[in-house]
């Protein structure tokens, strides 16, 4: 029996096609994945991402603990509400998971951090984090009492304010990659955490609230003209936006340096001893053998994960591929030899098709950003 989010009935009422996603019944689309994709690029859509794992970390040792646990440095976010994207690495520099961590101060949870990790990696993440936390003064609380709704698109914030009114007023002036704690007694005494973050390349909010209040919020957003969007469009939106998907674009056997995520590794200050640092420094010194690039297929067809990429400098592999509704062409992320550039071939069903190697993102903020 699969798990249901607090919005399961809303998905069925909206004619969702439900699929199994790591033990959760989730909507893949509500009719047309491509229309949903355009809805988010051009207007506003919402995703039920309640299956994702929210962890609240508190305790006097929590900052040094996260500085050891994460490849990015939480010292960079010592302003209340500020968000940071990071990888959590193993000793070999491989990626255990990628995550977002928010710094919180003065809220009803107490000072500390909120971390959002992937649903697919929940068990191993918790095991790893708890193991690292054994000797630290840190409390870890899994917030499976919360639901999460991502409202994304150029009109997403306006419509969210229209739907949720003064309850989320504290989010109005948020800069990108900041969150506001909107919890107070007038919100049914409940928590309400609104972050200007997302996984689509569009503006918007990720809203975390008690699961018991999720259906009402969803309904209010629907009434304000925010359309439900399935996990299918979420994948093509993030691919166009050049955002990695854990388990496809990187995993425990690839480092952030060969996954287009060097920008998320804080090597400075040199004395910060984060897990995986020694392995990454070694890789950095000799230069990573591979890199993650964008591909645009020039021939007709569809790029898919695991297709073989042939370059002048050796072979590579597509890590994520699909049809891009914004470009009207097939695009992919691929791991290729570090020296590869400009052109490559992709093997699809025994045929070699021609593709261009490009910088990504492919599309963000409603526009194509690559040629």
């Amino acid at each position: 029996m699969n798990q249901h989010t607090a919005l399961h009935a809303q998905h069925l009422a909206a004619n969702a096609k439900m699929v199994d996603f790591v033990g959760w019944d989730m909507p893949i689309h509500y009719g047309s994945q491509i229309e949903e994709h355009h809805q988010v690029r051009n207007d506003a859509g919402m995703f039920d991402v309640s299956h994702m794992v929210v962890l609240d970390l508190t305790g006097t040792g929590v900052t040094p603990f996260l500085q050891h646990l994460l490849a990015n440095d939480v010292a960079r976010i010592q302003t209340p509400g500020r968000a940071l994207y990071s990888c959590m690495l193993n000793e070999r520099g491989g990626v255990i998971d990628d995550l977002i961590v928010y710094f919180r101060q003065g809220g009803i949870i107490g000072d500390g951090y909120r971390m959002v990790v992937n649903a697919a990696t929940r068990d191993k993440d918790l095991a790893w984090i708890n193991q690292q936390a054994k000797t630290a003064d840190v409390n870890i609380r899994e917030r499976d009492d919360l639901a999460m709704i991502a409202v994304q698109g150029p009109n997403a914030r306006d419509k969210a304010h229209a739907a949720l009114g003064t309850r989320i007023d504290a989010a109005r002036e948020l800069k990108p990659f900041f969150a506001a704690d909107c919890s107070n007694a007038s919100n049914n005494g409940g928590e309400l955490f609104v972050a200007r973050t997302g996984y689509t390349g569009e503006d918007g909010y990720e809203i975390m609230l008690p699961a018991t209040q999720a259906a009402d919020a969803w309904q209010a957003l629907l009434t304000a003209g925010v359309k439900p969007i399935g996990l299918g469009a979420r994948d093509t939106l993030r691919l166009e936006a050049g955002m990695n998907l854990y388990g496809q674009d990187m995993d425990e056997n690839t480092s952030p340096l060969e996954s287009g995520l060097s920008w998320t590794v804080a090597f400075k200050p040199a004395e910060r001893d984060f897990i995986g640092r020694a392995a990454l420094e070694k890789q950095q010194a000799i230069g990573p053998a591979h890199k993650l690039v964008g591909l645009i297929l020039e021939d007709r067809g569809v790029l898919r994960a695991h297709q073989k990429v042939v370059t002048e400098h050796g072979d590579g592999e597509i890590t994520s591929g699909s049809f891009s509704p914004t470009l009207g062409k097939s695009i992919a992320l691929a791991r290729v030899p570090a020296a590869a550039q400009q052109r490559c071939d992709v093997e699809i069903r025994g045929k070699r098709l021609s593709a261009r190697i490009v910088k990504y993102p492919f599309a963000r903020n409603g526009k194509v950003c690559t040629q």
């Binding site: 096609k17 893949i28 689309h29 047309s32 994945q33 491509i34 299918g232 093509t236 007709r300 067809g301 569809v302 898919r304 699909s322 049809f323 509704p325 097939s330 069903r349």
Partner: protein, 131 residues
């Protein structure tokens, strides 16, 4: 419930087959199949005059979600392909049994068509698969 026209024949792999008056057969994917696959973005058509044995892979339909093989429902030679699908693969979603047809074959043995499933049996198949 799914749209399953009575006058067509069907395969387990969700192709539909229509016997034409000129002796050829027209082949496409069923409305049920297009609904499962979602938005079509690319159709790889077979080569005209290529010969296939019943059950052999001969075309591919790709939705945003995944690629799916199309199998020859009968043994014979490809006599026509729906070139319009190159620019408008979404026709398969919009009109699976009509303008979303994929290719035509000249059967080696016209009797083979009669061995395919009728609408009633196909309806039972998709009912069983969805449980």
């Amino acid at each position: 419930m799914s749209n399953v026209p009575n006058e067509l024949k069907y395969t387990k792999s969700h192709e539909w087959v229509r016997a034409e008056e000129d002796g050829s057969v027209t082949i496409g994917v069923t409305d049920h199949a297009q609904d499962l696959l979602g938005d079509m973005v690319f159709i790889e058509l077979p080569e005209i005059e290529a010969n296939y044995t019943a059950g052999e892979e001969c075309a591919v339909v790709e939705s945003v979600k995944a690629a799916s093989d199309i199998y020859a429902p009968i043994t014979g030679e490809v006599s026509a392909v729906n070139e319009a699908l190159a620019d408008t693969p979404e026709t398969v979603n919009q009109d699976a049994f009509g303008s979303g047809w994929i290719f035509k074959m000249t059967p080696e043995d016209a009797g083979e068509i009669e061995e395919l499933m009728d609408a009633e049996t196909y309806l039972e198949l998709i009912a069983a698969e969805s449980h």
